[in-house]
Amino acid sequence: MSELIDVVLTVNGVPRPLSIPARRLLSDCLRHDLRLTGTHVGCEHGVCGACTVLVDGLPMRSCLLLAVSVEGNDITTVEGLAEPDGALSAVQQAFRDCHGLQCGFCTPGFLTTVTAGLRDNPDPDEQQARDMIGGNLCRCTGYQNIVRAVLRAAELAR
């Protein structure tokens, strides 16, 4: 039943060889096999967005992907968002500046989503900022400061 499959996943630029069952979700693989626990799981049915990671730069829900299916892709998790010198990225810094997080459980999914979103649209207006985070759930912040953080991140990146 749990025949193991050998794969090499590229996560935050580092190749990681693994032996995992075919049914292992990417979210579980990142969290429990690779111990990159920054990616969170809020629903496991693709709705909350907490598990969002970047796959070849595109935001994807790691709870809906099998780990074995992303061999050969570039995966970026929240742990890989900081600048090469270790400083917070513009998006991370903006969330801090704007109090865009409370419990922080949803935050990694927002950070990855917004990182990709600002790459597509570096200069969003308020409505576009709201749309950018429109698929992620947060129970703490009421989204007010997250929208502000998106706008602030765009400003910081300029």
């Binding site: 039943m1 749990s2 069952p21 049914r23 292992r24 969290r31 429990h32 111990r35 990159l36 626990t37 920054g38 990616t39 969170h40 799981v41 809020g42 629903c43 496991e44 049915h45 709705v47 909350c48 907490a50 998790t77 929240v78 742990e79 968002l81 900081a82 917070l88 991370q92 969330f95 801090r96 500046d97 109090h99 997080l101 409370q102 419990c103 922080g104 459980f105 949803c106 935050t107 990694p108 950070l111 308020e126 709201r130 749309d131 985070i133 429109g134 698929g135 992620n136 759930l137 947060c138 129970r139 703490c140 912040t141 009421g142 989204y143 007010q144 400061n145 997250i146 929208v147």
Partner: protein, 792 residues
Amino acid sequence: MSTRWFGQPIPRVEDERLLRGAGAYLDDLGHDALAAAFVRSPHAHARITDVDVSAALDVEGLVAIYTYDDLPDRLAEPLPLLIPHPTLTHGRTPYALARDKVHHVGAPVAMVVAEDRYLAEDAAERIAVRYEPLPAVVGIAAARAAAHLVHEDVPGNLAARMTQSTGDVDAALAAAPHVLSLDLAIERSASTPLEGRGVLARWDAEARRMRIWSSTQTSTGVRAAVAAKLDLPLVDVDVITPDVGGGFGVKIMHPWPEEVLVPWAARLLARPVKFVEDRREHFVASAHERGQLHSVRVGFDDDGRLLGLDVRFWHDHGAFIPYGLIVPIITSTQLLGPYKPGAYRVTFDSLYTNTVIVTPYRGAGRPQGVFVMERVMDAIARELGLDRTTVRERNFIEPHEMPYDHGLVFQDGRPLIYDSGDFPASLAKLKQLVGWDDFEQARETARAEGRRIGIGLACYVEGTGVGPYEGGHVVIETSGKVKVATGLTSQGQGHQTVFAQIVADELGVPLDDVEVVTGDTRRFGYAVGTFASRAAVMSGSAIALAARAAKEKALRVAGDALEANPDDLEIVDGVVRVVGAPGAEISLGTVAVLSNPLRYAFDTAAQAATQFASGDPAKPPVPEDDEPGLEGRDYFSPMQSTFANGMHAVVVETDPDTAEVKILRYCVVHDCGTLINPRIVEGQIHGGVAQGVAGALYERMAYDDAGQLQNASFMDFLMPYASEVPSSVEIDHLETPSPMNPLGIKGAGEAGVIPGAAAIASAIEDAEGIVLTSMPISPSELWELRRSKETG
């Protein structure tokens, strides 16, 4: 002087870690642990006739399967009833694993432990439980009718009936020139933190000690419960609260069945065991709140002043009542809001149904109470043709009437006495903020464009900072760093930041030198927990007192060393110095060294200390009235709660075709006493408002008649995304300091959610000219109301 941190909207010290993905939530811990999964009841009410585990036994990686019959001693008894009450005559609590019967969908029947969660679920799937279904009691009407019983030995499905009153309501209503009757309903919703429940336990067989991590709002509560259930000395149980991904009430309930079963299994198996709830489990096996029906009679005079208020309501508490009557007691008392009710009588029935249990969810009974009272205010205004704000103004408790005694008993068993608040000033601010008096113009403009808009408001008073106590511990280390601990827990409120702000000010040390730990019983053993907007009031005050004690000692020791009177000393940036004598100074780290007669020179502070003589040669090295070290510990235990208040106004637009409701403006005036960190308080309001909007327009628990929860996923339970919340929340603060605590603060955690349903109902009514009696309201329900109005 150094910066004063209290009152500053500084960024949070928690954030850096969380933003890098370096938080440590429950499921981020215990990678070596076995995983637990549960077989849960698919029936709302059934007798268990057989549990057959044989097909599960050859699942690879299976370690153990437990059913009720395996539970020893006290673990086999029903779980505790946390808060008994004399009127709770028929309190029933569940077994940790179902015994003979299940009473709601999701009830735990068997626990499976395996090498990982996938394998545990494989095994759980193969366990065959045979049920003989029984009729399910779903909803308040069925519970009251009592054609079927949830518990055979509880007649009428009635756990408790409680009445409180002041004055002669019958006489007041009989004499009142106007009397109205209203029937009002609020649906179930739930806290729904983004992280579910979870618990990890490690048994140290050599030391015979249990260490538990739980995603809880009360580590001390879990600790005491586990010690009792597993027959362990309290001192041999540690409970640590890791980062918690939101709570909003549901995690104050304890012990959950899993919280006692997982440590028990860890001890039996001598291996760490972890349970992490999934989303469906959270919907069907944790807790909900809000479901209540209310029937009100109100008498008032020609000016709209209340003469008598008679409230009867029915509270659906689900299959068991482990948390007692807190929610309906809060509704009973906080319903009164900022108003003088005249004579008042309230009676509630707390009823069993075959649904998941009810425990407090942010607001805890207040949203229902405020909905009732504010509907009453709007009904009076409509009846008399008065402005809705006028009726409210006429019924307000005036500032000169504070403290105001309602003559009732509050949730904490103490008299319901408001300590402070200026309601007319709050309302004036709100009217100004939303432009209440100019709204008719806006309405006309909109109407000319074929749009319907409406305005509404709602007022509330919230008892916050309930006792009995919290404590704080402050230790200044020889490095000069200040380590602070308090026993209550954090779920994202920024306690590490605000408590550090308090301590930095009290001690005169840099903010970066202060580190705060919450919810770790190894650091602080006595605590109640985080609920009822009590953390800042209770632990904030206790920590301030503890810091003052540490400071007093620091000044005394430094006074000795500097040969100065402590009254002439000040602490600035972590250095004690003689006021007006430059150079006469000593760092707090060095003072910490001097405070301990055992002085090995491990560090530079200790070396620096050698230049100072200290201690009285006529006394022992540690005098009788002293102790070694530079620490302060104190507790805060107020006589009663402190009462915050606020008022919300909402402008909505309703779509003439689709009946969709759009919030155009959301305004908040909020008085939570003095603000430690305005940015954090505003964040709390934002989150609360979103939950208020959710409860008004989106969220409900859709049980069918068989007791199946039809929307137990984020696909079907409409938790708001960014597109569903108001695009901005306009906030104005009023700061009426509380006289009940040393910092003048009142709680802020729940405020945002409380008046949401009431204010939005008021605004929709105003837009539509339709009377609303039940919330939440969906577009199709509003559309139906329109249709029945048109057809008369």
